[in-house]
Amino acid sequence: MEVNEDFVKHIAKVARLELSEEEVKSFVPQLKEILEMFSVIDECDVENVQPSFQPISGEGKLREDIVGECLLQEDVLSLTPHKKDSYFKGPRII
């Protein structure tokens, strides 16, 4: 995949970012350089190697599903001006 301005704009859109023309221009050579560095991994043979998604196996233990102390609705809503009645208010969907 060629790293050019269209590439950067496409990924930014997918990631919900609006970039200025200046940002797009500066990102192209930077991302090219970084992706080239990433390509070093092509030289590594990992056949029959299992992936590690964590460095050390933890318990992976989930809490029992017991109702405990939780945040109060009014406290949670106090963190935003975007609310109506007892709900968050978001932008329009369509």
């Binding site: 930014a12 500066s26 990102f27 991302l31 990433f38 590594c44 932008p91 969907i93």
Partner: protein
Amino acid sequence: MEDVNKVLEETKKINDEYNYLNTIIEKPIQRKKEGKLSNYYITFKDAICVKGVHSRAGSSILEGYYPLFNATVVEKCLDEGAILLGKTTQDTFGFGSFNINTNLNIPKHPLDKSRVTGGSSGGSCGFTKKVKFKHISLGESTGGSMANPSSLCGVFSLTPTYGLVSRYGLMDYANSMDKIGPIANSMKEIAIMLEVISGNDEKDSTSLNSNKNNICRDYSKQIGVSLKGMRVGILKESFNDSIDEGIKNSMKKCIDILKSVDVECEEISLPFSLKYGIPTYYIIATSEASTNLARYCGIRYGAYLPLEGNFNEYFSKVRSTNFHPEAKRRIILGTFVRMATQRDAYYLKAAKIRTKIIEEYKEIFKKYDVILSPAMPIVAPKFDEVDKLTPLQSYMMDIFTVSPNLAGVPHLTVPFWESNNLPVGLMFIADHLKENNLIRIGSYLEGMDKN
């Protein structure tokens, strides 16, 4: 105990000059007087949530965010008599090696204001170096964010085994690597703080079970224990041409001291980790970061705008206005390497290489108790030198720190001698849950460079 007003006065004076804190707690918080941290003032990296205290992870996207709860480490400090003093400056969400990637405060080096502190826990390290009162800071490392600035600023830091310290209440950078740890001016303080903050937490599903893993957490009892019989692997690549000469001299002096007390020192190499560590780290870290940062959308907390346009337009606008360019760069990289067409070639492959990096460390630790290398290839650079680096050149500064972070093995930075009047930090790496070995060796070497 120091007078709280004097502490606040000193803190503000330092902060006006050096920018180490994004938030100073005007009425420092204390729950009880007695405990292991009695009379200690504690600062926290901005990404660690403190209830009711402005917490922004070095990003304006969290402007106005006052957490409704404490991180587990904050609760543990309060239970041991600590006094909470403030939130330290950092690269936005931990994205940086020099603490210049933030749209909040940029900290200056404690010994030379024309230089950087290193990053991303730069504020924690600079402030620790500068204050005169009893103080410990809690930093966070994903790929070297404690080892790097503690090395450049000349303070101790211990990045613990992944899962030893709860991440509950830490704003995520890359969940599979994020670790909270202590930054201090002495090994005793490092050991005590690690005793306080470590241990299983049911609020963090990746937290390790101390009993099952037979973890001995009497870290302060390791202070001053003889090094006799210890085996140290000296990383051969520490002496490459690209490494600062003064740092190599510090390494040599340290090795001489260790040999003089019959510590077995032998050359080792980590060719696989050094070749693949940086690309593997940045693929995994940006993948995880790009999903973690999706939550910042200007609706529930933090920065917001008037609700205009549809949800795509609104989210994009809030995020673009408030994310630092480095956050945007990492989101774009992480989004790309996770795309359906790229995932196997990048993310999955990196996860497999990570397995081999862990195996390379495990193999070394069959024969050696610790590995010694520099934390950084350079001493603290000047701001104008850092400004000239491309993002890739900055990433390459993490050459020694990314692999232990990928492997989740604990590592300690010990300030040891100087190069051109600037601090040098040596890094000791141990096997999973062998923090005791790090405390032993760090406490032995503490102050040796002043003799």
